[in-house]
Amino acid sequence: MRCDFSDSLLQEYFDGELGGRSAAEFERHLRHCARCATELVDLDLLRDRLHLAQLYQPATASLRWRINARFHPIVPKTPASKPLLWHWMAAAAALLIIAVVLAKLGPWLQVDDYQAELAGEIVDSHMHSLQPGSTMGVASNDERMVTSWFEAKLKLALPVRDFANEGFALKGGRLDVIEGRSVAVLAYERDGHPINVFMWRTREPETSARTGSRQGFQWVDWRKGKMEFCVVSDTKVADLERLHELIDSST
């Protein structure tokens, strides 16, 4: 650079890092130095091009769920108080009571174990569907098209509804395998959160909705009319319960 001002000063001015007085001094210099002025225009053009090209790369969905899975389940919603001696004693007493109750309720527990295992598999499948490259069997918001796709694949008439008016936009459907059997999966989206609804035939008695969470994902499960449904997402539980109501009233 032939002028008296260093290249660093030009960079500083361009980046808005030059203080008031030095900036004014540099601006005076700019009026006479064609070289610095040209360079400033070039820097502006370069910056415009960088910004227009949208090079910023936000975190991928798969990194998000990996981090979600690592961090969310360990973060309690409400801050726990400091562990005091009587807390431990109360906990010990509670454990004793639980042990007695468990011994009496063995058969019931198996149901809950089964539920937890099932939810685990469903959450895994849901996470898998969030990874880049995972494909939809039928990508459409046309209820009839999705219904007939499932009919052809599973010989099963499913309650396929687009609840876009209620904020749950139908995205399509696919098949998955949970516990060794084929299940139908309807994909919805709410405020950018993907929601999967797993459906399969069952002979078990009807149940009301049960909710749970696993690895940062929420699920709601219920059985109605020889069908079992399980809704999974990282969105609010209230949203999933709303979707449950909508599906419930359409079946």
């Binding site: 290249d7 660093s8 030009l10 960079q11 500083e12 980046d15 890092e17 070039d42 820097l43 370069l46 910056r47 091009r49 960088l50 910004h51 227009l52 090209a53 949208q54 090079l55 910023y56 790369q57 936000p58 975190a59 991928t60 798969s62 990194l63 998000r64 990996r66 981090i67 690592r70 961090f71 360990i74 973060v75 309690p76 801050p79 726990a80």
Partner: protein, 176 residues
């Protein structure tokens, strides 16, 4: 993670986790690949969580990006040591940045800029990414990269010059 108290875990979630995009963006540009960047960004977040006790308040993004950068360099040293030794080799950079074959393939500006940025030596690439994509101040860049502010300025200046000349070469090549 289990070493953190409940309060620290909540603080970590509030202060650090919102900067996952920044962490991934820096890792992606330093490592020049999405899947490596995912692994390294995740590793960096786990490290950040482990060292969160040592975070004394202040700028959580700069603190996290410092860890991301160190994790990236450790990864590069282990997996692609050649890339780090090539830094500041401007002649080599100019040779690799614009061959007619690569230029013929590169049609749009996004691809052309991506290639130009990726062929910059890592030390230049990181200051440009932090300044232009992440919007960091000189002070923040100095904190993240552990290099003096004066060096931040001169690196930025040289990085911009190289990027500019790579782009000018490439557009001339594309026309001919």
């Amino acid at each position: 993670m289990s070493e953190l108290s409940v309060e620290d875990r909540e603080r970590f979630e509030q202060l650090v986790l919102p900067h996952v995009d920044a962490a991934f963006n820096l890792a992606r540009w330093l490592l020049r690949g999405r899947s490596d960047a995912e692994d390294v960004a995740q590793e960096a977040l786990l490290r950040a969580c482990r060292f969160f006790g040592g975070f004394n308040g202040g700028d959580a993004r700069a603190w996290l990006l410092q860890i991301v950068r160190n994790t990236c360099y450790t990864w590069l040293e282990k997996n692609r040591p050649m890339e780090l030794s090539m830094e500041f080799d401007e002649e080599l950079h100019q040779q690799t940045s614009a061959t007619p074959e690569t230029l013929a393939i590169i049609a749009d500006d996004h691809k052309r800029l991506t290639l130009a940025l990726e062929t910059l030596p890592p030390r230049f690439r990181e200051v440009l990414v932090l300044r232009e994509l992440e919007g960091c101040s000189y002070k923040e860049i100095a904190a993240i990269t552990s290099i003096p502010i004066g060096t931040v300025m001169s690196s930025l200046s040289r990085a911009r010059r190289q990027l500019y000349s790579a782009l000018t070469n490439s557009s001339q090549g594309a026309c001919s």
